[in-house]
């Protein structure tokens, strides 16, 4: 048996669309993710990255192939694989503390114990003093931190994050990326992180899985060997970012870098 935390074997997911035609959301994807590894799924919309995440989460089953987690086939969602959604999905009728306690409550952890655990994770995300607030009183970034604390509270080995910072403004997003990098390092979680933000993937990932659409598939896997904590303006970072952009076809090989500067992309097509 392999040591991989997540092992995706030739997974495909085919949907029937409204017109009755078949669409390959995901075609023949194989990927192995080690325990403690931070992997970003990067690509344009429609490349199947969320589909793949849902297969690993167990919300969806592959049409062919299979997904193994610690050697066992995934057939249903499980608290050992917690999802984080872009919309936070906090329960508005519960306080912040109540939200973080939720998973422990379902599991039957006694009240005082789950309260202690919830406070611990609220401290981890820096929101201890907001325990008695309700989600709607918090900013988007704070709400996503509560969602993260709620997921971490049940101590999942694997975190599955679906564009978790996509709805946040740029500065808040960077702050949360910093926090995410810190928590990933501290808590040794295996993380599968869906994003379409190149910089985010370079900042966070140990490996970037670049995906392509129609049918959804893996185009290329790029290891990120930058030292942590990473600096967004270091030469290595900028170079890798350019390489990823190139992989995505946003920047073309002949183009000088850094991209975008003094370089009119239209010039290329001019004869």
């Amino acid at each position: 048996m392999s040591a991989a935390a997540i092992r995706i074997e030739r997974a495909a997911r085919r949907y029937r669309d409204r017109a009755g035609g078949l669409r390959d959301a995901l075609s023949d994807v194989s990927l192995e993710i080690d325990a403690g590894e931070f992997v970003c799924l990067l690509g344009p919309s429609g490349c199947g990255k969320t589909t793949l995440l849902n297969l690993v989460a167990g919300f969806d089953r592959p049409t062919s192939g299979r997904v193994l987690v610690h050697g066992r086939e995934v057939t249903a969602p499980d608290p050992s694989r917690m999802c984080i959604f872009q919309s936070y999905a906090l329960y508005p009728w519960r306080s912040v503390l109540g939200n973080v306690e939720y998973g422990l409550e379902v599991r039957g952890v006694p009240r005082s114990e789950r309260r202690d655990i919830a406070h611990e994770y609220l401290r981890l995300v820096g929101l201890e003093s907001f325990a008695s607030h309700h989600p709607h009183e918090l900013s988007g970034g704070m709400q996503q931190r509560v969602a993260l604390a709620r997921a971490l509270a049940v101590d999942p080995g694997i975190l599955l994050m679906d564009e978790p910072f996509g709805a946040l403004d740029a500065l808040t997003r960077m702050r949360l990326q910093d926090e995410m990098a810190r928590i990933a390092l501290q808590r040794a979680k295996t993380i599968l992180f869906v994003t379409h933000d190149v910089e985010e993937s370079v900042f966070l990932a140990d490996r970037i899985v670049v995906m392509a659409p129609a049918p959804g598939r893996i185009q290329r896997i790029l290891p990120v060997q930058l030292k942590r904590p990473r600096c967004r303006t270091s030469d290595g970072f900028v170079a890798l970012r350019a390489q990823v952009l190139q992989e995505l076809g946003v920047v073309h090989p002949g183009q000088p870098f850094p991209p975008g500067h003094s370089n009119n992309p239209r010039q290329e097509s001019t004869p």
């Binding site: 499980d78 959604f85 009728w93 379902v106 599991r107 009183e137």
Partner: protein
């Protein structure tokens, strides 16, 4: 405030100080007017009522004025019969309403959670619902006799459908991502229903319950005309038999006023709930 006004006038010297003060007086007046505005309609009705009564178009027996109605209320109050009528009505209304809610909400939960069951029940409900509670009168009397029970049954029917339909709709409209999170945490069975679905659906259910309160109160009077010996509906029937139009009008005003208070009370509860759910901005008085 005054600091602001000074800086404002310093920055724009062309604007005279007096203009600012006048504007402020105007603000106070318009704020007062806004507060009094809800009374305008009621005031207008009272005025028209009084004018019509004084016009001589109708006799006092046909249309007594507002003051006659007020006098009538003092009379029944002094007799000590008014309060028992009101409490009898409220007791009937309360028991019928809560019985309707106690049946409609759990049933709505089941229908909302089981789409196939709802597919089977929906046409039946939609056929029964347009039958006015009043149309049930003959059967209510045949089956339940006269007195308390038919009145309660009529109010029950009136409150039942809005409560049921709101609950079904509320459950079906629960955000799927809430259910996804619940499944992810391993929630199932009763926990899923009581920890996630019911609270998530609650604001919308509450809206339906408020509509049901209104409907129940509207049919209270009708129900109490089916042989009840107490209550505001009976008061109207009784006053009609003695041609006491002033008492009829008084009872009507009272029914309206109590209905208004009940609705405001429920609306207040609903607002507090919505604020807790984050559906409304928190109030800052």
């Amino acid at each position: 405030m005054s600091v602001e006004a000074t800086t404002l006038s310093a920055a724009a010297p062309s604007r005279p100080q007096r203009g600012v003060r006048e504007a402020r007086t105007f603000d106070v007046l318009s704020a007062l007017a806004r507060k009094l505005l809800p009374l305008a309609g009621i005031g207008l009705l009272l005025a028209v009522w009084q004018l019509l009564a004084a016009s001589g178009l109708y006799t006092v027996d046909q249309l007594p004025g507002p003051l006659d109605a007020l006098r009538a209320s003092r009379e029944v109050w002094a007799e000590g019969t008014l309060l028992p009528h009101v409490t009898a009505s409220l007791a009937r209304f309360g028991s019928a309403y809560f019985a309707a809610v106690a049946v409609a909400v759990p049933l709505g939960l089941v229908f909302g959670l089981r789409p196939n069951l709802w597919r089977a029940a929906d046409p039946l409900i939609q056929v029964l619902r347009p039958i006015s509670p009043v149309a049930w009168f003959p059967l209510a009397v045949l089956w339940l006799g006269i007195g308390n029970l038919p009145a309660i049954a009529i109010i029950f029917v009136a409150a039942f459908y809005p409560a049921l339909l709101a609950t079904v709709a509320a459950v079906r409209r629960v955000d799927p991502v809430y259910l996804k999170v619940a499944r992810n945490f391993g929630t199932s069975g009763p926990q899923l229903i009581f920890k996630v679905i019911v609270p998530a659906a609650f604001p919308q259910i509450a809206m339906g319950l408020r509509i049901a309160v209104g409907a129940a109160w509207v049919y209270l009077v009708a129900g109490e005309m089916l042989g009840a010996r107490t209550g505001l509906g009976f008061l109207i029937v009784d006053a009609r038999n003695f041609l006491r139009t002033d008492l009829i009008l008084m009872a009507m005003v009272l029914i309206g006023a109590i209905g208004f208070v009940i609705d405001r009370g429920v609306a207040w509860l609903e607002r507090r709930l919505d604020a807790r759910w984050g559906l409304l901005p928190e109030e800052h008085p």
